[in-house]
């Protein structure tokens, strides 16, 4: 008997330690990020950093204006979300509400498989297949541009958005649908007025997680976006989102130089952005939490 209690205690403690470890790791990473990023601002003003138009990090003294990079990140995320949200959510609705359960059983694993594709593979496809295609069809100066990166990023966020939305729709109790149909609502009315509102929190979370995946994605934007540090003036303008700069330059930045600190400062900004997305996601999940069916 005592032996069991001892075992139980050991298991409890080791689980607690594991949980604490991941928390400590996160704290450590955040601390490191801030310690390495903030020294830049001791002699470089935040305004010049954030609103600066030019990024010449290797000059003496370096010029670290990230505004075009920031706008590049926002532009590519917004555009890819504009593609990915309808695609992901509508696919989820089709799979859960309309498709035959056999069809669903076949299609869903494939969509989840899409999420398993390494980003470097998608990036390569974007660079070698999609970019020349865009160049040809739209007569663009270069296929490596905002639109190209946004389309490839769409492939990355659709599985996340679709899969989580589908789970949310699946969790809506069947009694709700049956009730709605029994009252004479059409299938579309049922989906639009009953099922979607009931699954809203899950879908909101799905969208936010999909977007945070897009904004933090590095390999795809490094390979497909063109890499020009300018404010995009059209869909076909090459851009240089923030993660691409970090990935391309970190290896060559002299240790603890201004350039090194500036790249970490970009990292802080990215971290805060994804944090925002995640907080919004959990707020949506919290606010619209469906407790039972009574509140509908």
């Amino acid at each position: 008997m005592r032996n069991y209690r001892f075992k139980e205690a050991v298991i409890q403690k080791s689980l607690a330690i594991t949980a604490t470890l991941s928390l400590l790791a996160l704290l450590g990473i955040v601390l490191f990020l801030f310690l390495e990023g903030l020294p830049l601002f001791s002699h470089y003003s935040f305004t010049d950093f954030f609103f600066g138009q030019l990024w010449y990090p290797t000059e003496e003294p370096g010029v670290f204006g990230i505004f075009p990079l920031f706008i590049g990140s926002i532009a590519v995320t917004v555009l890819s979300s504009a593609f990915a949200i309808p695609l992901g959510v509508f696919t989820a609705i089709y799979l859960n509400e309309i498709a035959h359960s056999n069809t669903r059983r076949i299609i869903k694993p494939f969509i989840e498989l899409l999420a398993a594709l390494p980003s470097v593979v998608l990036g390569f496809l974007g660079m070698v297949l999609l970019a020349p295609f865009l160049q040809e069809v739209f007569n663009a100066d270069t296929g490596l541009n905002l639109l190209n990166a946004a389309i490839v990023l769409t492939f990355m966020s659709v599985p996340t958005i679709c899969s989580i939305s589908e789970d949310a729709l699946h969790a809506v109790p069947g009694s709700l649908r049956e009730g709605s149909l029994a009252l004479g609502a059409t299938r579309w009315q049922t989906i639009r007025r009953v099922v979607l509102p009931a699954a809203l929190s899950g879908i909101g979370t799905a969208i936010m997680l999909g977007m945070s995946r897009a904004i933090g994605e590095t390999m795809v934007v490094l390979m497909c976006a063109g890499g020009a540090g300018i404010l995009p003036d059209s869909l076909f303008a090459p851009i240089r989102p923030m993660p691409a700069s970090i990935a391309a330059e970190m290896a060559e930045a002299p240790f603890r130089s201004d350039h090194y600190h500036a790249l970490f400062a970009i990292g802080i900004l990215l971290f805060l952005l994804t944090l925002c997305f995640n907080i919004i996601a959990s707020r949506i999940a919290e606010k619209h939490r469906q407790v039972g069916t009574s509140s509908l």
Partner: protein
């Protein structure tokens, strides 16, 4: 009890095995430009010296020199000379980086094979990259916008280009920054309006290498510095190479061994004295 025994055994066996593994290890880090040479030569070197183990990784010239200063590697590969800041940091840590040139690398401006332009001057190249010349028409080509492709600002290749071609003029912000020689080739091969630059060793049939100031991009021209855009590739050691490190350096500089690998990778071997 039994667990204790196993532990004791493990410790004992490690203690016994340690002298058997006494072979020394040389840690090498740095420029990805030099990396392929080091990997190729390193394999043959390890086969010839089974007692010496090489641990080779890339990460950029800056990272390599950083690691040398921090004492994390014995050899730093670099595609550029050490910077003042880095020398100072080294001095503060009591490290004296010594450079040994192991190969020449020439940078060649490239265009799409269909492009009519086959030759440019240094001044024209500078104006194109500065954004002053925007259309191929201005260079005698067809009427279309020049898509300027560059390497990202912290690569050794960019630095070399910036120093030898741009000469203190800024590469325009609208230039497409690509992260590797391969990515530049890929982008040029797919775009008839693009211009870029790559290491001589990366030149292939999918792109066309331009002549600059009437000079052909060849190995001989790079060594004699007739080719205007060429540089040396270095390895840095703390003090003069000694012991096993010296064996490796000698191997790299041997015309029948390491220098053969240099040529195989596409760089230019050091001229024999």
């Amino acid at each position: 009890m039994s667990l204790g025994k196993i532990c004791a055994c493990a410790v004992l066996s490690m203690a016994v095995a340690a002298p058997a593994m006494a072979s020394s290890q040389i840690v090498i880090n740095g420029s990805t430009t030099v990396l392929p040479v080091m990997q190729k030569a390193g394999e043959a070197f390890m086969a010839a010296h089974p007692d010496i183990h090489l641990s080779i990784s890339g990460g950029g010239s800056g990272n390599g020199i950083k690691a040398l200063i921090e004492g994390q590697c014995a050899i730093a590969m670099s595609s550029r000379a050490i910077q003042d800041k880095e020398s100072k940091a080294a001095a503060a840590k009591g490290v004296t980086p010594v450079a040994t040139a192991i190969a020449y690398d020439a940078i060649v401006p490239v265009v799409h094979p269909d492009n009519k332009i086959k030759s440019l001057t240094s001044a024209q190249l500078r104006d194109v990259y500065a954004g002053k010349i925007k259309n191929w028409k201005e260079l005698g080509g067809k009427d279309s916008k020049i898509v300027v492709i560059s390497r990202d600002t912290s690569s050794g290749t960019f630095e070399c280009w910036n120093e030898l071609v741009m000469k203190k003029t800024r590469v325009m912000p609208g230039a497409l920054m690509q992260a590797s020689n391969g990515a530049v080739i890929q982008a040029i091969a797919k775009n008839p309006n693009a211009i870029g630059y790559v290491g001589l060793g990366y030149l292939n049939k999918s792109v066309h290498g331009l002549t600059v100031d009437g000079k052909e991009p060849t190995a001989a021209n790079a060594i004699s510095k007739v080719w205007p855009i060429s540089r040396e590739l270095y390895i840095y050691t703390n003090g003069q190479p000694q012991g096993d490190v010296k064996k490796l350096v000698d191997y790299l500089l041997d015309p029948s061994k390491g220098q053969k690998n240099v040529a195989e990778i596409g760089y230019i071997p050091m001229p024999t004295k």
